[in-house]
Symmetry: C2
């Protein structure tokens, strides 16, 4: 049973109440906290030594990644993060300096995005470090973007460049909070997700929730330099396109917007975020599943994203 099967089984019948606008199954939970015109967002995520980072990672990077993963999910709802709480589970031989370094990484990223760190829990996990962070955010009701609104005729966009994240970017990515908020403020974005499991792994989440399919243009997919370098230099490494589709931990935004707005959106983005690439990588079609168009024709995409455990 893989992670997705287990989660599907566990989330079949979760307790709900009148505050729940969207529960498990989107980037964040969406809650009606009673403030007119606004929703609350709630998200938790964890990083574990040996799974999400190795001993070589600087403590600041570990803290950055742990908070950044949650902020990336807030970004995918076009939300604004308010506050975070941090659970840090420490191995028996922990060094105070390392814990302080982790907090320094959390705090620096939090400060940059105006997030308050409002408490947490320190406990023991004898064999390895584990960090679990929960973030509370907010979003205007009419700007909140779910995974479920993609429609036939939408164009598909992705920020940044994909693949090869393990070479370093997975530890120092910047959550696309400003980008997500700007998109929702200026364009009718129909669906959005952040890429944690790879384009081939995460696009299907939008498609299933929206009851549509997608056609990707192979040559339009932005491939990171790291993925290209690795393909050239490492024996047995994935070809660059496959890396871009399936490596995971890109923490970029993937979104669908009306095809007729594509030019205006690409132009507006370039002015607003000149240092962040935006690519139109395909379109939403009838049906289901992902098709990839390359110079040899149209193929059903069988590549799956990164599955955290099998």
């Amino acid at each position: 049973m893989n992670e997705f099967d287990l989660i599907a089984r566990l989330t079949r019948a979760l307790p709900a109440n009148a505050s729940v606008v969207a529960g498990a199954g989107d980037d964040c939970a969406v809650l009606d906290g009673g403030r007119p015109g606004h929703y609350l967002l709630l998200k938790t995520d964890a990083v574990v030594d040996g799974i999400h980072f190795t001993a070589e990672a600087a403590p600041e990077q570990i803290g950055h990644k742990a908070l950044g993963r949650c902020l990336s999910d807030i970004a995918a709802m076009a939300g604004r993060p308010l506050a975070a709480v941090v659970t840090i589970a420490l191995p028996a031989d922990f060094k105070v300096e390392r814990v302080e370094g982790i907090y320094a990484g959390i705090n620096r990223l939090a400060e940059r995005h105006g997030v308050a760190i409002v408490g947490g829990e320190t406990t023991t996990n004898p064999e390895r470090l584990l960090l679990s962070i929960a973030v509370l955010g907010e979003v205007a009701r009419d700007k909140c973007i779910l995974r479920s609104g993609a429609r036939e005729g939408d164009a598909l966009f992705v920020s940044g460049e994909l693949g090869g994240s393990m070479a370093g970017r997975h530890l120092d990515f910047e959550p696309r909070l400003a980008e997500g908020q700007w998109l929702a403020a200026h364009f009718p974005i129909h669906a959005m997700i952040d890429l944690s499991d790879g384009l081939a792994g995460d696009l299907p989440h939008i498609l299933q929730r929206s009851n549509v399919g997608a056609e990707l243009l192979a040559r339009a997919i932005p491939i990171s330099r790291a993925a290209k370098v690795r393909a050239r230099s490492a024996a047995g490494a994935k070809p660059p396109l496959l890396a871009a589709l399936s490596d995971g931990e890109d923490f970029e935004l993937l979104f669908a917007a009306p095809g007729g707005q594509a030019v205006a959106l690409l132009d507006g983005w370039k002015k607003q975020f000149p240092d962040v690439r935006l690519s139109c990588i395909g379109r939403i079609i009838k049906g289901c599943g992902v098709k990839l168009r390359d110079k040899t024709g149209l193929h059903s995409l069988e590549t799956h994203g990164y599955v955290h455990f099998a």
Copy 2:
């Protein structure tokens, strides 16, 4: 360096923003989410296999305890829990049935208290199970009870009975949510905390935040049957009063209210919660620290609560 020293060091300079009413250092963080007349509450807590429960614990009990600890903190602010997110970190040899049992325990407690479970994260922690839960709650602004408001002349009260929790209660306690809300609705409660580290460990948190001291009456402290049984039957076990002061994981409410209201409060509680004992155990005095009055006189209390790691 123990847990409290480490936390003190980590929380010296946490990022804040305009939404923070009370950050780290109370039972929950208190946030202004923009809803007139209301505050949001945010809390995270974790339980770890071998630290907070053993292999003998039923999976339902593990889930119950993980969520119950957070709900107990919401109770201590007189708050109402809205929603929770769950991070479950699974060992390599996890059984799906056990994970489902843990979720069953979480869900049953959540349903009883109207809490929505709105998502979470499933990850790997190869050697042992770890559960980290974050709860979002709410409270009316004029009913939110911090640790910091105790005043000279207040009476000190504790719900339930203390000590001996390890015999079983630490796995099946009921968070005192109804009690906390009722207290705030009917009496001017000055300060409140939930007892996780024992009366002797947690009372000082109220005292330090409120800049006052306390005098406890030894014979008024409600000692659990489990603590008494253990004192009689286990060689080297703590005397019952010491167990009640220091065992920890009672998850009862400790609060301070004007001495003049003590009789009305005890009477009202008895009518409202006939099955839950309420004891007036002492009073708030000038100065600092905890003094214990027994038949031999007045003693400075040196007993510390349970410290999670040393």
